[in-house]
């Protein structure tokens, strides 16, 4: 008689891996990625729209001209020539920066990981919008932090709610290590922080001595080309800025960066070197030449036109197909629509039915560290064609209607009574909530 130990290392794993468990939802996404399923789940850009001849030219020229260096190790801070060009990308949004203040990372995601590693000990509080980017929540959770969500409405993060949360933390003897925010075309809510609120947010940050981590993947993807003032440009010292080329060029080259003041920058370089020595010189050169020699900004303008059309297709389809008691955000850029389900429906419970009907989305729970958000789902319009998007929404609407009938027949009450505020216009919640 014996115990079988399929995992002999079980007793050795670090505490921080405790929450890393197999998930039914993740398993369902294995089916969602099949071509038969309309994939409204992932936040993937439309890389098929890139000029591949130009990409080939750039790639070839890197090997031809600087092959030995490109295939060699590089410096921990990143290629200086690339950092100069990344300053140009920031300048396109009127964000002043020096190449010397930038640290190149493996996508913006590694930037978030290194920032959390730099600032957070287990148990530390991080403030984030509610809902917030799932990848950031994952990165923060690996450092055993407690994310406290601050509600949003159609103008983004609600400053009064932030003030309340900061006051509540102060009164309970705690400090937030930083506020994580995506002010432009937020993932997943699809809304942007108004200019007045940006100023108010920074006033509060000053008052409470709060560090702000500004993540800006979608700033250049406004459908009308509108540029909103970056928090970094309004208060350089208090804001750590995370940028990425994933949406303005391609996620496959894994280029992101962090822009920060000297002491933070220096520590980030050390952390970057400790993590992976340096970023790939090869993809840094490809990115540098793409930005230096190719009309990258024109390409971005073309892409956002594609995204505008797809967003329009999604919004039109939602308006004509979805039952009356659904609502959703109406983005002016980015990739995402945040939709609220009718009363009594739960986005996670609904997912299997949706995948059986061959349409996939991300349940709202993914975007809350405290398990909330079940009455919302995120729909992404970046990847699928307008035709597929319309078909996906038709399938989704049918799924929602069937579920509504079932819930009505069974008179299921929504678990927990509080409904979360939605960016599409309902009254904001006021209690900061606890996510410890």
């Amino acid at each position: 008689m014996g115990e079988i130990q399929p995992d002999r290392y079980r007793a050795r794993y670090a505490q921080r891996t405790q929450g890393m468990i197999a998930s039914e939802i993740r398993a369902l996404f294995a089916v969602a990625s099949r071509p038969e399923v309309v994939f409204l789940a992932g936040g993937m850009p439309y890389t098929a729209g890139l000029d591949f001849d130009a990409v080939s030219q750039v790639t070839e020229s890197v090997i031809r001209d600087v092959g030995a260096t490109a295939l060699q190790y590089g410096g921990g801070q990143g290629l200086p020539e690339l950092r100069e060009r990344l300053v140009d990308v920031m300048a396109a949004e009127a964000i002043p920066a020096h190449a010397d203040d930038l640290v190149v990372t493996s996508g913006g995601q590694q930037g978030l990981d290194l920032v959390a590693k730099l600032f957070c000990d287990p148990g530390d509080v991080i403030l984030a919008e509610g809902p917030s980017y799932v990848g950031a929540l994952g990165a923060f959770s690996a450092y055993q932090t407690a994310v406290v969500h601050v509600p949003m409405d159609e103008q983004g993060l609600i400053p009064d709610a932030l003030e309340q949360t900061l006051g509540w933390l102060r009164d309970s003897g705690r400090t937030a290590k930083f506020l994580y925010t995506v002010p432009n075309h937020q993932n997943p809510a699809g809304v942007s922080l108004s200019t007045a609120r940006r100023e108010r947010l920074l006033e509060l940050a000053g008052h409470f001595d709060l560090l702000v981590v500004e993540d800006n993947p979608y700033g250049l993807l406004d459908f009308k080309g509108e540029i909103r003032p970056a928090l970094k440009s309004l208060d350089s010292e208090r804001v750590v800025y995370v940028g990425t080329l994933s949406k303005v060029f391609a996620p496959g080259i894994r280029i992101g960066w962090v822009a920060a003041e000297g002491p933070v920058r220096d520590k980030l370089v050390l952390l970057k070197e400790a993590a992976d020595l340096c970023h790939s010189n090869f993809t840094q050169y490809v990115a540098q030449r793409w930005l230096a020699d190719q009309p990258w900004f024109e390409q971005v303008c073309q892409s956002r036109e594609v995204y505008r059309e797809r967003c329009g297709a999604l919004l039109d389809a939602l308006a004509s197909e979805m039952p009356g008691d659904c609502s959703w955000s109406e983005p002016t850029g980015g990739f995402f629509v945040w939709a609220r389900l009718p009363e009594g429906l739960d986005a996670r419970e609904l997912l299997a039915r949706a995948i059986r009907a061959r349409v996939a989305y991300v349940p709202g729970q993914a975007f809350y560290a405290d398990g909330g958000g079940g009455d919302h789902l995120r729909l992404s319009f970046g990847f699928s064609s307008p035709e597929r998007i319309r078909e996906g929404v038709r399938r989704l609407a049918e799924v929602v209607r069937t579920e509504m009938e079932l819930v009505r027949a069974l008179r299921v009450r929504t678990p927990g009574t509080a409904r979360r505020p939605t960016p599409s216009g309902s009254a904001p919640g006021t209690h900061p909530g606890t996510a410890q």
Binding site: E3, A27, A30, V31, E349, A409
Partner: protein
């Protein structure tokens, strides 16, 4: 390759569009690697519209079905492979269809005098169109307050909930209907969870399952270390024998072949209750059939090889597929 065993051309079928695609791909990868290590020539195939062409092109001796869920376990692929004349692992289409639907399978078990927890099947049609929601109190009246709610079709514990009150029952029904349009509400039996795998009509040692968090749900099944396993199960010999007998009886009754896994609960009086019968048991690192085989002294490749040899033997007498084909343009 073990001993003098000839090298076989094996197609390992895994993936598909079922909700259990990920688990199936994991099973398929492991089986394919094990059979390759044994010297067999292995092709891995996913289920899609090009499947029949690729199966014919691959010219295989046997198909290993590492498919879990709809279309892989419900008789669909089995019927298709019969049509193509290709031998495959596991039972035929009819036995697959019986075991796949938990309500049908339990009905058969009860009629044959085997012990399975009392249950009620509810379809979403009955709820939506016939007012069945008004009768939920009767479900509780008949089955008691502690219930298991599960989709009638499906595996990997997806959509399965344990509930303790009428209100929670309605919520659990909604969850389960997301996975399938018929749901079983089953009386909860408290006791030891045991899986008995049967290979070629003989039971392997029973594996006892002790989830650390209480429920043997998806996370407990597929997270390394989330569940403790004991093989043989920590039960007395007489009880173990009853479990073995129940598993073999179910295997024979349903008409299984090659391999099956019966999931049982052994109550405090030592009575085994059959919950369900799996005809395409998982072959992942945390799956129960490989653990049972290990306890019987077989390593994983030996288990896989044994299963394909059983299936290949059924194909031994058929006409070779390499026989000359009449040209479409005529002789």
């Amino acid at each position: 390759m073990s001993g003098t065993q000839e090298s076989l051309r094996v197609a390992v079928l895994a993936g598909g569009l079922s909700l259990e695609r990920e688990v199936s791909l994991r099973s398929g990868r492991r089986v394919a690697e094990a059979l390759t290590d044994r010297g067999h020539r292995v092709t891995r195939l996913d289920l899609d519209e090009g499947l029949v062409d690729r199966l014919v092109d691959a010219d295989v001796d046997v198909c290993y079905l590492a498919l879990h869920g709809k279309a892989g376990e419900d008789g669909t692929i089995q019927g298709l492979l019969d049509l193509l004349g290709l031998p495959y692992t596991g039972p035929d289409a009819i036995a697959s269809a019986i075991a796949w639907d938990k309500g049908v399978c339990k009905g058969l078990l009860v009629r044959a005098g085997l012990t399975t927890p009392d249950w009620i099947a509810l379809s979403s049609d009955a709820i939506q169109d016939m007012g069945a929601a008004q009768a939920l109190d009767r479900v509780v009246e008949r089955l008691g307050h502690e219930l298991i709610v599960k989709p009638s079709q499906g595996g990997a514990s997806m959509g399965v909930r344990r509930v303790g009150a009428e209100e929670a029952l309605a919520t659990a029904l909604v969850s389960a209907f997301s996975y399938h349009d018929v749901v079983l509400v089953e009386r909860f039996i408290s006791g030891a969870e045991v899986a008995v795998s049967v290979v070629d009509r003989a039971a392997l040692p029973a594996v006892e399952v002790v989830p650390r968090a209480g429920a043997y749900d998806f996370a407990a099944r597929y997270t390394h270390g989330a569940t403790e396993f004991y093989a043989p199960a920590r039960l007395d010999d007489a009880t173990l024998e009853r479990c073995r007998q129940a598993a073999v009886d179910a295997y024979e009754l349903v008409g299984c072949r090659d391999v099956s896994r019966a999931d049982l609960i052994v109550d405090d009086a030592g009575q085994p209750w059959l919950l369900e019968l799996d005809t395409c048991p998982g072959m992942t690192e945390t799956s129960l059939l490989p653990m049972a085989a290990h306890a019987a002294g077989w390593d994983f490749p030996s288990l896989c090889e044994r299963i394909i040899l059983l299936a290949a033997a059924r194909g031994a007498g058929r006409a070779p597929r390499t026989a000359p084909v009449v040209s479409p343009s005529g002789p």
